[in-house]
Symmetry: C2
Subunit: 273 residues, 2 copies
Amino acid sequence: MQKVAYLGLPGSYSHIAGKNYFSGKAEFISCETFEDIFNAIDKGEATLGVLPLENSLSGSIYQSYDLLMDKSLKIIGEVVLKIRHCLYAKGSGKIKRCFSHPEVFKQCRNYFKKNPHIEQIFVGDTSRAALMLSKSGTNNDSAIGAISLGDLYGVKLIERDIQDNPNNYTRFVIVGKKMNKTGTKVSLVFSIEHKPGSLFKTLEPYSRLGLNLMKIESRPLFGKPWEYIFCVDFVLNGQKDNLDTMLSEMKEHVNFITVLGLYEKGRIYDDSG
Amino acid sequence: MQKVAYLGLPGSYSHIAGKNYFSGKAEFISCETFEDIFNAIDKGEATLGVLPLENSLSGSIYQSYDLLMDKSLKIIGEVVLKIRHCLYAKGSGKIKRCFSHPEVFKQCRNYFKKNPHIEQIFVGDTSRAALMLSKSGTNNDSAIGAISLGDLYGVKLIERDIQDNPNNYTRFVIVGKKMNKTGTKVSLVFSIEHKPGSLFKTLEPYSRLGLNLMKIESRPLFGKPWEYIFCVDFVLNGQKDNLDTMLSEMKEHVNFITVLGLYEKGRIYDDSG
């Protein structure tokens, strides 16, 4: 059985994404930080990791990209999870306080506009919020997190889908020590000289080879105005030959280029409980 | 004197960015949320607003982009602020707790690794953290925020620059009701059909007209896999004619296109106190 490192405690969104990807057939190891996931794999405590890479409402997670660039792990898989925030309570008292991550509160603004008397208590992640509610919450406390938290922490589901925007998805990648030999999706990072037309020249092979760009993002380096980093995802059109051809053509225009991984495009999971 | 709406309380990074941009010559109006800034201008309580748009460590702030797309305000200026986190205390007791925004704690991980006994208390923003320290903090409490907070809230500077990464910059834009008639930098948002080569065709005029792309970012719309939104910044090469030519050429390839603003490239400010 694979040992898979993930962020947070049982029931965190990372944990749910991992369970979906591995169809539950893995041993999951809780990590406190992104770096801990990489360390767990380095030390052999885990063979793979689940890493959030971007969210449809808050964008790319640079910390994950930085770790993928700095450390030697590669993306070997992908899974997208629809994020559905649920409200839990300890008892049946009037809710006066709520525990969750600040980003979650931002995504549930309408609920708190309708319930302005509820005080928001910021916690590091949603699984910890449920644990806090379960362990030290009162009859007037609540927490927000995924649908699975109710059973895991013995807290009572009060309301489902309290997020404002239904288009809330997080894209997770599965990371491991070895690059896959096959796959249809490629993630890479490169830097180019910052002069007119240089990005255009670098992208030209994609167009000519008929590769479909799924993501392109320049990364601000305000301190270094003449250097730019780009994160790109694309889908190969047929053979892996395309990738080699494209990389060798891109190398003529870039300062550096790193393939973050070769993998199969991931499914979208929607755990509505 | 212009009335300028900003996020947070006096001494927030948005406030400092605004003070630098207007050289202190404006009346600043504190707002609690991004939306409140837009509402303040709508209602005429402010004429302009300061809006954070991206950070070098955490990326684009989609909420700001969404508001710029949904509401009618335009970008009329830009200012970049180097973010320097300082530690403040109430008295001279041993620090046992620290108040700040969760993102700030993430950016000061090394400090907390060296001081693992300090408990992190999450607060909505750095100016509120300083206020909390000042109003209800004990001799063992501390807060993290900008260099100006010490004087504003009567708290004692303990240590400067406790952030891990010195390359920490936030780019703010100044928003107002009317589009500028002149400017050298342009921000726009467009969507294209998701098929191979479509982005390339859309970008071709940039290359031909010698316009320098400063930013390009595709936005994930996981629920709508065949539609893509792009956020682009570029610098005009000479006349405004370039912009009109380019927009009319782009219109042939896009589903929609919105100019978010025309403005002068902003200065980078570094308040080291």
